[in-house]
Structures are given as structure tokens and as C-alpha cells.
Symmetry: C2
Subunit: 670 residues, 2 copies
């Protein structure tokens, strides 16, 4: 190159640097966004996680995880682990977590550590959940005092590792169709546990694949050749020392999955396994030594652990949707595009899709704590007042099923909106969106298929409506139906001013109207029944949220947060109404003008909340290492972070091992 | 065990076998379903793939793949391959495929083999597509005769492997914002290709990660310090022999992705690379030796390869949605659940979700061939009538963008419906649903972000409306707007009888009304603009399908298929109207009664088509090995197949390697 050329080249470079090289605008953008907050992010963080103490313990727990080489993903590349590596790493985390629990005595910190780890890894979450909740709760809810005492120490210390065997290959939602049998042998005072067919194979059982030593399994109890009912039985699966399968147990791993690959979902076949009669869970139904079957006061109790399981999904929704929305909102405020190089979050099509999701995460966060508290209170009744406990079950079954179905479907929608809002970058595993979608995938079917659950919920509501029409007074989450006459006294909406839409009690009334109107329509067919179940469940989130906010307005730290919480509630309410506009119009409740007013208000609220979207997602307080997405970094300096992450991946640069064999033979044929 | 016990045990087993053990009902179910066909599956298969000859060649191609150990996934477990293994295997398939092309001379069979391989593997599809279409077409569309002649032999024989470098880290959709520069050095008659910033890094470039030797890259052309326009330049990336990066090229692999992990998406940074001036693609814009820039007659030509890329997604939609719907429909007819042990496909909530998807796959299949034929005809004009070629671009850009955006969004919906219809079994990688969703994930953003594209489409439509309102006659896919006065002469629907809804011309008119009405609403805001773009694109699928069917009614083999094709079209039309009911009601076009009539008709059509759903999916003719899903097997004997697949996975049964380290220390603490 001539000297002149070199000079020209240099000049061009310098020109490029001066004229083209953009300064990293992300950090500036995000700090400007942060100035928009109308509220204290710190106080909102306390409110979101319950209170100051727990929010601070959570921060502490994040620190512990990040410092511990056994808990923290090595090298920050969890997405490059193979499935066997993920399995081993998750079990290593659990082992370390168990050790830590013994050294950290502070109960608040322990609770925070559990939550933080579950938010860090869905596979960890499910493994811990299966043993510490499903398995343990089964002993609390179904076991006699003797059974509880005999097992509790081993369970609490993970000296046995338990799983929960319900679903079979041929039957999921229809539990009465389960095929696994427990046949009583009076002679030896034993049950014989058996999978009589291929379709009786228990499947999808979390931790049955490689790690569980024990299971409780639901079986058809057979005495003298007659089916008496479905009950739970304790069966050992593996030798506690060697890990080898017990005689009569065939169990294996379900292999590669769409998500949660650190969890060993498995399958189990029982072949004539003999267990003592006392391995049947006998708090409710019993079998005597003589082979007499004493039924439970209510067979629904057998499935009451599932109420907790369904409600637990709300926590997963907060964690997953909250994390993904944090990434999407930050990236949306950093990414610039178009002729004026605008932040893409400024585009209406962008923020209109994301802001209702942000609002919903606040609603679910607050409602979740309220309903979990309620259920924990009810569970305590099993020790004090069994009849009262049983009386709560239908209502709790209905609302937990409804919430689980609607909010997991909504979660799919949230994640899909996030995915699309990230442009092509959601396609990189290193931004965690694909991983989160995969992990989330199971929740619409696990713990009961949504389509089945939501119809059960709707039928409960229709039954309650019937009771009201017969003049009965009802309680529980359907209590509002007692006022049905008043609700239905309107056949057309009174909406005439946009400001009415910003009154939460008013929008709740509108939504309630749609739900209660025209009972016969709902009975008409399955598609409408599903819609009814959805309306009821969504209505519950709104009505509880209103109660929740009212509570906060009496707490001095949180009082100042009520205006923004109200606005988030408004958006959620109008989102719900907007989503059912077709139905309202069909029923003649709204006219076209009112519908347009609602749409306008919807767009306006999204735009207003967009202004505070960064403080709103910051308030959830997810650290970068939990988010695992360079494009969602707190500081906004996203592009170097993304490229550095890529470059640190194995074999990023270099000639691939297959070059000689397949490429060179094409490009340099002999 | 006492003798009596053994006897009891045996008796129980026998009883279980007699009373409980279900016969495998799947094969019986599916053969009964197949008896429901009102049409010849064989003839429908010919129609769907174009004609008898091609449909048969496709069957032949499936055979070839299945017999060839280099093309066929080893052991039937593609889902257990690691990412490096997937990369190598995909390149091995390409190598073998190149060899086969040389030995198989029959052009029809070669075309069928290409399609079959692309349907077999999306990673293979994308690699082949990048080189054989994007790279090759760039030479055809942008290259001079000399450039074409210089490279064509090497391209056709894969002696060079090419990729297509457009997207940058900082700019995707807004191409004028691209930062990579090509600075002309008059002295040496060279361009200097350079990435001046981090955000100028080319990203997501298919095959740039590990395998491409060359790229064409779009750059800002700079002459005498002035930006002249964006143009394409040929740059060598790797040494053809060693695979090592050329000096000045930094390129690497983007690593783990949500899907298509056999494809090496990569990133590229150029550092002052000198290329001869003649490496600029100069069919349209030119730079003379003197450094004079002669602009293109239309800068849109630079992006005309993207029209083909966007249309190609329709083919992927047919393959992906068709395969997944085959699996879902077969499983839905085999799976039994509920108190009467009914096929789940009998449930309204089930078939109402799947049948519109089946109908849409037929519509897209037929419309795809029509539009591809049209575009191939237009492309030939580049050799004969460049001005006419250019005149087609705006319309083709608008409709290809609109179809790409709407049909990829719809594809997401189809796959999500499939996923939910499989209960928990979609969660197993071995049923391919998760893999298909992952592979599909890129299409909503790749080839142009849908939100950006659909707005361009809508603006084109609004421009066309403006022309019509000025009294101009317009042509192309917006030609129907010429009749706008007649369309808008109705302000309320004339619908009074359900049978009207079964007339495709009538439902097309309804849909057209919504699209043309109230121009000012569409201008109002971005959210409505997106809706407008969708309506226009969906309307096109319906109007083209109607033309398509009319053509089939004149072909003797296919005449008998017209009734079922009509019914599928009816469902698609009513699905489209049903989906926009809210908007129709808001505009006062339909009243509540008419809306209810439409819903009723929708449910009824779904139920009718459900009766033939198995013959309808069988007609697509996807062999089991292409589907890769034991639960979607043709013979319906799904449960043993599923469990056998699981059992054949690595490490299905056995003590995991981490037992000693992490589990035994919990269950047997020292």
C-alpha cells in the first residue's frame, strides 16, 4: 500500500470514528428512564416481596448464590451445558443448598435463599418442590400421626428423596381412569402394587428418572377383587446406598425435554411389589387388618395437595414473567431503530404489547401472596378442624384451578410478546428467552391440563349461580354472585366518560356483568364454558388486587405507592375488558362509541405506564446474574456484553472439526 | 410367599388382564377415522404437492433419505445430539446430498429430494437456502454478466460456500442505518470494507459461523468521504483449503440457539479489507474506475432477494404446520380420556382449536404455489425487461412482507395450539413439538421483523387507497380496491341465513368490507395499522385460494376434491371473520344476532371437518421418519412406540454418574 493509501485509509478510519461510531447510548438511556420514576423503587421493591425485611434477605440470598461456586453456574454459560451436565449440576446445587441450610440458621434468610435459588433455576425449583412440597405435604395431608412421625425426620433431612406418582401414560386428567392397582392381601397384611398394562406406566414423575429413593403413588385400591377407591401408597424405588432399582420396580428417565433439563422426569412400572398395609396413607380413607375399607369423608381430599401445586405456579409466573419483562423493557429502551433512531419502546406497537404484561406481573405478585396466605391458613385446619378444612376444598379447588389455567395461558402470551419484542435476539440462547419459554412450557399441562381444569372451574361457578337463583346465600370466591340481581339490573353500560374507566370498582363491575350475564349462553357449549372459567378467574385477580391496594393505603411506607399501583390496576382492568370487547358488543352491553373509548383509554394508559417502565421493572430487583441475559443488563451497556458472551462460548472462533471431512472435499475436491 | 399368596397374586394379575388391560385401541381408531374420507387421499396428495408426478417423486425421495446412513439421523434420536454433533451431522448431510445430486440425474427427483431433505431438517434447509438461494440469487439479481460468469460454476458446485451479510448488531430492520462501510480508493481501484464500530458487526449471518468461504455483504458505499448508497460487495471470509479466516476478517459462531442448531449462524467484523472495485455487485448501481457513482434505477432492487426469502417462509409453514398438525390430529384421535373414555378429538374445545389450523395449511399450500410461480416469472424479467421487473417490486414487496408477517404469526399460533393439544407429551423432545417450535422461532424476526414489515404493507395499501380515491386505476394484489365504491355501498351486513356463510365469494366480500372501511381509522395509530396489514394479507390468501379452487374444478383428477376444498376454504373464511368479530361489531356492520350466527357456523364447520381430519392430514403424506414423533405414528399404535423411544435414549435406566457424589451423601451421610 502506498503511503498516500495508508494515509487515506487512516483518514477514513478517523472520519468513521468521528462521524459514525455511536457512543454507547444504552447507559444514558436507562439512567434517563430511571429519572422518570414517580415513586420510590426501594419501597416498591419491599412491597413487591412483602416487606422490607424479606426484600433485604432476598438481596442477601442473591449474594450468597453468586459467591458460591457450587450454586453459581460455571463461567456464566448455563446454556452450553449438555443434558447430563445440567442434571449433575442441578443435583450439585441441591447438595450444596442442603449443606447451607444447616449452617445458615436465620429462618428469613433460609426462606429467601430457597426463593432466590428457585428463581435462579427452574430445574432446581421443581426438584426442591417435588420433595419439600408435594412429597412432604402428602405426609402432612394424607398421613396418620404415626406415618408422619416415622418419615418426617428422613424427609426433612433428605435421607430419603421422594417423588409424587400420579399421572399415567394412558390417563392424565381423568383420575378415576388410573390403572395402577394396590391389591390387599389379607393373609400377609400387605398391599401388592402393580402396573397391569403398558398404559398404567407412571410418567412425567419429577425425580423418578434418576434421583428419588421413594415415591408416594396413587393406585386403585382393590380388596377381594373389588375396586374401593383411589389412595396413596408409599413405595421405595431405589436402594438408598447404591441407587439401584428395588426388585419389582422398573423406572427410567424420560430423556430430553423442551425445558427444565436439570430435572429428571421419569417413568415407573410396578411389578407385584409387596408393601405393608401401613404404607397406605390412612389419615382419611383406611383399610383395616381385616380388609375392611373405610372411605374418606370426602374423596376430594386425595387431590388437595394439587391445590397448593396449582397455586405455586403463580410464584413461577412472577419469577419468569418478571425476569423476562425486565429484559424486554430494558432492551426496548436501549435499542434504537428507524429514521429518527428512536428507542423502540417509543413505538406504540411496542409498548402496547408489553405494558399490560408489566401491570399483570404486579397484580399477580400481590394476589399471589393473598391467596397463598389463605391456603396456608386452611391447611392448618387439618390439625384442628377437619370438617371445616373439607368445606373449603371445593372453592379452593375451583379458584386454584382457574388461576392456574388462566395465568399460565397468560404467561405463555407474556413470554411470546417478550420473545417478539426482542427482534432476532430472543433466538440466541444466551439471552435466556428461549430457555424461559421452554421451562415455562410444562405449566399449561402439568398439575392438571388447563382445558380440563378451567371447565371444572366454570362448572363450579354455574353450580354457585344455580344456588343463588334458588335463593341460597353463598360464600368464598363466588360470594359476589349473591348480588347478581343488582349486577344484572343494567343491560347496557353507563360508560359516558373516559374517567369512569379509571375507577377500579367501576371496571370490576363491568367485568362482573359479563360473567354473570346470560347463564344459558355459558351452558351452551365447551368453548363458552372455557371462556366463563377464564372470566371468573380473571375477575378474581382484579377484585383481590383492589382489596390488596386498599390494605397498602394504610401502611405509611407504602401509601405513596398507591397511585402507581392504582394505575397498574387500571391497565389490567381495561386490558381484561378490551380483551373481551367482542363479547360485550355481541351482548349489546357496549355500543361502538363506548368500545372506541375503551380502546383509546387502553392505548393512553399503556403510554403513561411506559414512561415508568424501567423503574417498574427495576423494582422487582432481579440481579443480572439471575436474568442471565446480556441484553437485559441493568447498566444498559448491552452490545459489548452480548458479543463478549458469545465470544466466551466454546469453539466460538476457529476451524470446526468437520472441516477436513465435509467442507474441504467440496471446496477443494481432489 | 405362601402358595396361596402366589395363587392370589396370579389371580389378580389375570383379573387385571381381563378387566383392566386395554387393547391398543389406537390402530382401530385411526382405521375407523380413515373410513370417513369423502375424497381420495391419493388424489388429494397429488393436488397438495402440485401433481401426480411430483408427489410420487417426493415419495421416492423419502425412500432415498431413509435408506442413506449419511442423510438419515442415526438411531432415530436426533434430539439427543449435542450442538457440535448437530453441526457436524448437518454438514455431513449436505456433503452427501451434493454427492447424490451428481449421481441422480432426474431433475424432478432432484427437486423432490431437495424439498424432502428441507422438510426433514430445518437446519439443512437453512444452510442450503442461504447458499443455493440467497447467495446464488444475489449473483443473478445484482451481478453483471461478467460477475455471474466468473462465479456461477463455483457456486453451483459448492466450490465456494456463500453467505449473505445484511443484519448488523445495531441495526436490523432499518437498512439505511447500517454502519459497515465500503470506501473507494481511486488510487488502487479497490474498496476498503470496514466495520467501524462494535454495533457494525454483522450478526445472525447463516453459515458465517463455521462454514462459509465467501459472503456478499451490504455496505455504505463511500466515495470521497460521501455516502452514496448501500450496495453489495463480494468478500472472501475463509481460506478454501484450511478454513482459516482471511486477514482482516474476524468471524465466529453465535453459539447455542433456541432452534436450528445444525446451522452455524455467525458474526463478522471487517477490518480494512481491500477488495477489487469489481467485487461490487454492479448490475444496477455502479462505481466507475474514476470513482463516479451511478445510482440504481430503483434502490429497492437491492432488497429484492428478500422478496423470495419472505415467500420461502410459506413453504416452511406448510412443512412445519403440516407435520405438527399430523401429529396432533392422530394423537387427538387415539388419546382417550374422561368418564366415557372418549377420543379427545371429540371434545369441542379440542377440535375447534385444531381444525382451522388444518384448513389454513391447505389454503397456504395452494396459495404458496400460486405466488411462487408468479415471483419466479417476475424474476425472469431481469434478463428481458428490467423496467417491467422494477415496476412489480412495490406490490411484491408489500404482499410478500404481509404474507410473511401474518403467516409466521399464525404459524406460531398453530404450533402453540398443537403444543397444548398434546397434553404433557409435547414436553418430551422425542415428540418433536418443542423442536419444531424452536426451529420456527426465528421466522417472525428473520428476513425482516414482522412488526416493521406489516406496517410497510399497510402503508402500501393506504397509498393504493389514496390513488383510487384520486380516480386512478390500480393493479396487482390491491386491484380489488378499484371496486371500493361498490364494497362500501353497504354499511350493514346482509347476512340473514347461515347458508350465505358457505359461499366463499360472499365471505370474501365481508372481509374486504372490513379492510376498506373507514380509512381514517387505519391512519389513527400503529396498532390499527398492524391490523390493517393483517387484514389485507389474510384477504389475499382467501381470494387467491378461491381462484385456485376454481382452477382445480376444471382438472378431471381433482374435480372430485373441490367440495372438501370448498369446505376448508369456508372454515378459513369464517375463521378470519370470527377472529375480527369485535371490529365488525364496533363498526356496526354486524349485529349481535349475526355475530352469534357466525360463531355457530364456525363451531359446526369445525365439527364437520373434524370427521375427516385423519384423511386430511394423511393426504399431506409425511412419513413417520419425517414426523419424528412416536405419538404421531401413522398406524396409531403410539404408546409402546413412545416408551420404546424413551428406553432407547442414552442412560435411560441406570444409576447416574453423580449418585455417589451428591445423592449418597444425603441419603447415607457418614
Amino acid at each position: 500500500m502506498s503511503k498516500k493509501n495508508i494515509a487515506l485509509d487512516r483518514l477514513t478510519t478517523i472520519q468513521n470514528h468521528i462521524s459514525n461510531q455511536p457512543q454507547p447510548t444504552g447507559p444514558i438511556d436507562l439512567s434517563r428512564e430511571r429519572e422518570n420514576a414517580s415513586f420510590s423503587v426501594k419501597h416498591m421493591n419491599w412491597l413487591f416481596w412483602g416487606n422490607k425485611e424479606f426484600a433485604e434477605a432476598l438481596q442477601d440470598a442473591y449474594l450468597i448464590i453468586q459467591r458460591d461456586p457450587d450454586l453459581y453456574f460455571p463461567g456464566g454459560h448455563p446454556f452450553d451445558l449438555t443434558i447430563p451436565e445440567q442434571r449433575e449440576f442441578t443435583m450439585k446445587q441441591i447438595f450444596r443448598y442442603r449443606q447451607l441450610r444447616k449452617s445458615l440458621k436465620n429462618p428469613l434468610l433460609l426462606k429467601a435463599l430457597a426463593l432466590a435459588m428457585c428463581m435462579y433455576s427452574e430445574s432446581f425449583n421443581m426438584k426442591i418442590y417435588v420433595h419439600d412440597d408435594l412429597f412432604l405435604q402428602s405426609f402432612q395431608l394424607f398421613g396418620t400421626a404415626e406415618q408422619y412421625d416415622a418419615y418426617i425426620d428422613d424427609i426433612l433431612n433428605w435421607k430419603i428423596i421422594g417423588c409424587f406418582a400420579m399421572t399415567e401414560l394412558g390417563h392424565g386428567s381423568f383420575l378415576r381412569g388410573l390403572e395402577t392397582t394396590a391389591t390387599y392381601d389379607r393373609e400377609t397384611d400387605e398391599f401388592i402394587i402393580h402396573s397391569p398394562t403398558l398404559t398404567a406406566t407412571k410418567v412425567w414423575i419429577g425425580m423418578a428418572g434418576q434421583t428419588a429413593t421413594h415415591t408416594i403413588a396413587i393406585c386403585q385400591t382393590i380388596i377381594d377383587g373389588k375396586k374401593c377407591g383411589t389412595n396413596w401408597f408409599i413405595v421405595q424405588l431405589r436402594d438408598k446406598k447404591t441407587g439401584k432399582l428395588m426388585p419389582g420396580v422398573t423406572a427410567g428417565d424420560l430423556g430430553a425435554k423442551y425445558g427444565r433439563n436439570g430435572l429428571d422426569n421419569g417413568w415407573i412400572q410396578f411389578s407385584h411389589i409387596r408393601i405393608p398395609r401401613t404404607n397406605m396413607m390412612m389419615k382419611w380413607a383406611k383399610v383395616t387388618k381385616e380388609g375392611k375399607y373405610i372411605p374418606s369423608i370426602n374423596p376430594a381430599i386425595s387431590y388437595s395437595t394439587l391445590i397448593g401445586e396449582r397455586l405455586s405456579v403463580l410464584g413461577t409466573a412472577i419469577s419468569t414473567c418478571g425476569q423476562m419483562l425486565t429484559i424486554a423493557c430494558r432492551y426496548g429502551c436501549v435499542r434504537r431503530q428507524g429514521a429518527n433512531d428512536e428507542q423502540i419502546m417509543e413505538y406504540q406497537s411496542h409498548h402496547v404489547r408489553l405494558m399490560p404484561c408489566v401491570a399483570s406481573t404486579y397484580v399477580i405478585g400481590i394476589v399471589n401472596r393473598m391467596i397463598i396466605n389463605k391456603w396456608e391458613g386452611i391447611m392448618k385446619l387439618t390439625q384442628t378442624n377437619q370438617e371445616e378444612f373439607v368445606s373449603y376444598l371445593p372453592d379452593m379447588h375451583a379458584i386454584s384451578s382457574g388461576l392456574k389455567a388462566t395465568l399460565t395461558w397468560w404467561g405463555c402470551e407474556v413470554l411470546e410478546r417478550v420473545r417478539r419484542s426482542m427482534g432476532g435476539y430472543a433466538y440466541s440462547s444466551y439471552n435466556n428467552i428461549g430457555g424461559a419459554i421452554g421451562d415455562w412450557g410444562v405449566v399449561t399441562t402439568g398439575g392438571g391440563d388447563n382445558f380440563v381444569l378451567i371447565q371444572q372451574t366454570a362448572r363450579y361457578l354455574l353450580g354457585s349461580l344455580k344456588q343463588v337463583s334458588q335463593g341460597k346465600k353463598i360464600t368464598g370466591t363466588v360470594e359476589f354472585l349473591n348480588d347478581i340481581q343488582q349486577i344484572l339490573s343494567f343491560t347496557k353500560s353507563t360508560l359516558s366518560d373516559e374517567r369512569q374507566l379509571l375507577n377500579l370498582d367501576y371496571t370490576l363491575e363491568i367485568y362482573t356483568w359479563l360473567l354473570t350475564g346470560e347463564e344459558e349462553r355459558w351452558n351452551d357449549n365447551q368453548v363458552y364454558l372455557i371462556k366463563l372459567g377464564e372470566l371468573y378467574s380473571y375477575r378474581f385477580t382484579l377484585s383481590e388486587y383492589i382489596i390488596g391496594i386498599k390494605g397498602y393505603s394504610t401502611i405509611s411506607q407504602f401509601k405513596e405507592l398507591v397511585p402507581i399501583l392504582n394505575k397498574l390496576g387500571n391497565l389490567w382492568a381495561i386490558h381484561l375488558i378490551h380483551d373481551s370487547l367482542g363479547l360485550f358488543l355481541e351482548e349489546g352491553y357496549f355500543n361502538g362509541e363506548q368500545a372506541k373509548m375503551i380502546k383509546k383509554c387502553y392505548l393512553k394508559l399503556c403510554k403513561e405506564i411506559r414512561k415508568e417502565c424501567i423503574p417498574l421493572v427495576d423494582s422487582w430487583g432481579f440481579p443480572d446474574f439471575i436474568l442471565k441475559a446480556p441484553l437485559g443488563k441493568y447498566d444498559g451497556d448491552v452490545y459489548p456484553a452480548f458479543l463478549n458472551t458469545i465470544k466466551a462460548a466454546p469453539d466460538c472462533i476457529g476451524v470446526p472439526s468437520y472441516w477436513e471431512k465435509y467442507i474441504k472435499n467440496l471446496t477443494n475436491p481432489k
